[in-house]
């Protein structure tokens, strides 16, 4: 049987990464001295699963390493060791190390195993602290190897073995059956069996559950003792077994003979030679048995026990080639875990779809106008099912944000320790669901923000005490759904943003000229400008070349927005707003001239026709309109995109009020068309990103429509305006201050 387990590599890697995450979480929860047995058990079990899987799939270096980890955990579990801060650190480092290895394997790269050597050394040190007997036990591999050597007695010249087998009286109740063992022996060569019935009770005292028989066996074979041991492996511990070679006829002691059993066997030995009633069978196949060496696959001890199979060699692959094979696998082949109930719901819906479809094809067979109602009904059912199905399929991609949040306890712990700060981390809303892709992409920006909060936000403990704040700073991660968005808040009760510093920097960089007419929010928003860092010295914790502008552009790439609120001395709150999913958008179709565009429904506040009295002309050539006590700038899509629009004045068109980074903007278009869900297609696949357009979609008639990005449109208009203004400035040779109050 040639069975290839390679197909399980990926699933094992992914499962291991999950196990590592769970280990990390539990390790973070561990308090030295008051360790929760349940946590330790969970951590142990995760390590254990990784060890088992890696050994089975031939990743020896991983299983060896996890063995040490497991040993230490086992000592804790058994109460032989109380876990220390240093132990937790070591275990966390090991989790990191293993995570790197598995990540490399998942990505098809050659993992770097050097770190395991260093950590292995640390484990040996840690384990040597434990008392002697535990230490001996922990050194499982070494003792096993010894055992193997002693087992590895070669078949003597006499080619055969004499076996005395006195099973435990309960042998049958463990599901073992002596007859099966003999059949196996029989396959190795020529077998003579003699049963000893002396201890058989009187027939009326017989209990079918008990075995009172003993056997002496004579096996003519080339097979090693190891092979014989192997057959008796499961019953060796509670039966008396003596195996000696035919020529030497000298007992090779079984592993753990009980004193009383030895007595028994000595008695039996004498009777073994006088063979009375025996049966012999010719071996059906001359067993071609070799102990197979798998030196590069699995621990020595386990290999030695892995014996006897004609096709064994074909089934085992050396670990080196496995790594190569993995590297050939495509990286994009990532799997997602889905609960069976979600899949069952989908299957039900597919069932309904099939029924609707067959109904429709029935109607179409001989269609008459009388069937029109039926057809309409069928089509509306089809639409209903399709929509439901779409929702459910989207659901599959949704994961609780906990997947992303769970890494932060570690980040906060490590960093605060390094910086000598005292920080509590508060996590809320971790069950909030988010699209898997969005989740993956939001990870790095969040790490950056949290690191910033630790590094620049939270003050040193003594400083906090001086300021009358609690010694421990608090960083809060919160997530919740709001409309079609997921909102993630990262807040701290630290020093807050230094407004004066930001203003200085903004002025020196020419972003603003004075603080006149600039709101606090606008000032704080400047930290997201490229090259804007108020930190005087760049630490290696945050500010490693990655600025807040990168954070913002990463979030914008996800159709999301970030803003910050801060109060000096009290802390900052960063709020990230993200779409639930990237794949489908609820869109409002609209028309400008001959072009159809789509606006995400979530960004639309209201749409209306405006009358003249609402519109005001402002300095600089712009228009604003008065709406609910606000003056909202009007922008023309036709102007931004350089296209023709049908309307000739503001009152002819439709004004769509859209939400853009907490500001409202009126977008003037010719006509509103349908609302529909559209599947988002990237322009970057075959072209590049285009300003003012977040992506595209394919409409029902097969044509492409662009999905608008309001922020981008505002930017385009800014740039166009700046161009014209500089042009005028140059022409007139006079300073013409940009009036930028209007736009943002």
């Amino acid at each position: 049987m040639d069975i290839d387990l390679e197909q399980f590599h990926r699933i094992f890697f992914e499962e291991s990464l999950e196990n590592l995450d769970s280990m990390e979480t539990h390790l973070m929860d561990l308090q030295p001295g008051s360790e929760d047995a349940e946590f330790i058990d969970d951590i142990f079990r995760s390590a254990h699963s990784i060890k088992g899987g890696s050994a089975t799939l031939g990743f020896t270096y991983i299983s060896d390493f996890t063995h040490d980890l497991e040993t230490l955990l086992d000592h804790v579990r058994m109460g032989a060791r109380s876990i220390s801060i240093a132990d937790i650190d070591l275990l966390l480092q090991s989790v990191d190390c293993l995570r790197d290895i598995f990540s490399a394997l998942v990505d098809g790269e050659e993992p770097k195993a050097e770190e395991t050597c260093r950590l292995k050394g640390l484990f040996q040190c840690a384990l040597s602290e434990d008392n002697g007997d535990v230490d001996a036990e922990s050194d499982g591999i070494a003792t096993q190897t010894d055992k193997v050597e002693s087992n590895n007695v070669e078949a003597p010249n006499g080619k055969g073995w004499i076996i005395h087998f006195s099973p435990n009286i309960d042998i049958l109740q463990s599901g073992n059956e002596p007859l099966r063992l003999f059949r196996e022996l029989d396959e190795l060569g020529e077998l003579h069996v003699k049963a000893h019935l002396d201890e058989l009770p009187q027939i009326h005292h017989c209990d079918a559950k008990e075995c009172h028989m003993k056997w002496s066996l004579r096996l003519i074979t080339d097979a090693d003792k190891e092979v014989i041991d192997d057959i008796f492996e499961w019953v060796a511990d509670d039966s008396a077994i003596e195996i000696c070679s035919i020529t030497e006829d000298k007992a090779v002691k079984p592993e753990q003979p009980d004193a009383e059993h030895i007595e028994d066997m000595r008695l039996m030995e004498s009777s073994a030679t006088s063979t009375n009633t025996s049966y012999s069978t010719q071996s059906r196949t001359k067993a071609d048995v070799n102990p197979i060496s798998l030196a590069n696959n699995g621990t020595e001890a386990e290999i030695a026990k892995t014996v006897v199979s004609n096709k064994l060699q074909t089934a085992t692959t050396p670990s080196q080639t496995q790594a190569e094979i993995i590297s050939n696998k495509s990286k994009s082949d990532v799997s997602i875990r889905v609960s069976i109930s979600k899949i069952d719901q989908l299957i039900n819906m597919v069932g309904e779809l099939v029924i609707t479809q067959s109904m429709l094809s029935q109607i179409s067979k001989d269609f008459s106008m009388a069937d029109l109602q039926k057809l309409k009904k069928g089509l509306s059912e089809l639409e209903h099912h399709t929509r439901q199905m779409q929702d459910r399929v989207m659901q599959i991609r949704m994961l609780p944000i906990n997947y992303s949040f769970s890494r932060f306890p570690r980040t906060v712990r490590d960093l605060s320790k390094r910086l000598g700060k005292k920080i509590n981390l508060l996590i809320k809303g971790e069950q909030t669901e988010l699209d898997k892709t969005v989740m993956e992409k939001i990870g790095d920006p969040m790490v950056h923000l949290v690191r910033n909060a630790i590094d620049h936000g939270i003050e040193m403990p003594d400083q906090r005490l001086k300021l009358g704040k609690p010694e421990y700073g608090t960083i809060t991660l919160n997530a919740y759904h709001l409309g079609g968005n997921v909102v993630i808040e990262i807040s701290d009760d630290g020093a807050g943003l230094n407004k004066l510093k930001i203003i200085d920097k903004a002025i020196s960089r020419g972003l603003i000229e004075s603080t006149e007419d600039v709101s606090n929010e606008q000032i704080y928003a400047m930290i997201f400008e490229p090259g804007f860092s108020t930190v005087d010295t760049i630490s290696d914790v945050s500010g490693r070349g990655v600025g807040m502008d990168v954070v913002r552009s990463n979030i914008q790439a996800l159709n999301g927005h970030i803003n910050v609120k801060s109060k000096e001395g009290e802390g900052s709150i960063f709020t990230i707003r993200l779409p639930l999913t990237l794949a489908i958008v609820d869109g409002q179709l609209l028309r400008v001239g001959g072009n159809t565009y789509i606006l995400p429904l979530v960004s639309i506040v209201e749409s209306m026709q405006v009358n003249k009295t609402m519109v005001n002309q402002v300095a600089g050539g712009g228009q604003v309109f008065h709406w609910r006590d606000e003056y909202i700038p009007i922008i023309h899509l036709s102007e931004a995109f350089g296209i023709h629009a049908d309307y000739s004045s503001v009152t002819d068109g439709i004004l769509i009020v859209v939400d853009c980074e907490h500001e409202k903007i009126g977008l003037l278009v010719d006509e509103l068309l349908d609302q529909q869900q559209v599947v988002v297609k990237s322009l970057e696949t075959n072209y590049r990103a285009v300003d003012g357009v977040s992506s595209a979609t394919i409409l029902g008639d097969g044509t492409v429509a662009l999905i608008l990005d309001i922020l981008g449109i505002v930017k385009i208009l800014h740039m166009k305006k700046a161009k014209i203004d500089t042009h005028i400035t140059n022409l007139l040779g006079m300073h013409n201050r940009l009036d930028s109050n209007l736009m943002i």
Binding site: F641, T685, N686, Y687, R688, V690, T703, V704, A705, L706
Partner: protein, 185 residues
Amino acid sequence: MVNTVNIDQTSDDAYGENKLQDTMQFLTFLMAQEEYGIDILRVQEIRGWETATTLPNVPAHIKGVVNLRGTIVPLVDLRHCFGLPEVKYSAETVVIVLLIKTDKGDRVVGIVVDAVSDVFTLAESEVCAAPELADSVEINFIRGLATVNEKMVILLDIDKLRLLDEIPDQMACDIKNQLNAQRQE
């Protein structure tokens, strides 16, 4: 109505090579009475012109995007790239969908040309190297010249055309000059 011609690609190397191999197959197309050849292994399909969705504020040679079986594909007006006068697209105007390699990865792009002409096989010996032009250093998008049926065909290296880049007017001019220079050879 869109006429689609699928070209079967049986070669292992669907990308072709920058270097001429022993024999190569070329698809030729016409633009302003001139015949150009491109490596047939890069051709994904040939379609009739259909109205594209225009993109805002992109270079003029990018005619917009179309839906090619669910992916969004940009269309490039090759006349514009070569500094040739624009013509009105007609029923004969053809879009050749190509796979091109850019420094950002592979891209599928449609080029708008006047008409598709022929497919022929050339041996390496039949291709004359393009003469070196001292002035235009960067733009060596001409692979070589060949004579087929007593007519000169300009063999293009489509990757070097950098179809999706912002092509400034100067570049179009250079291309025009270079082509003229080729013609005079």
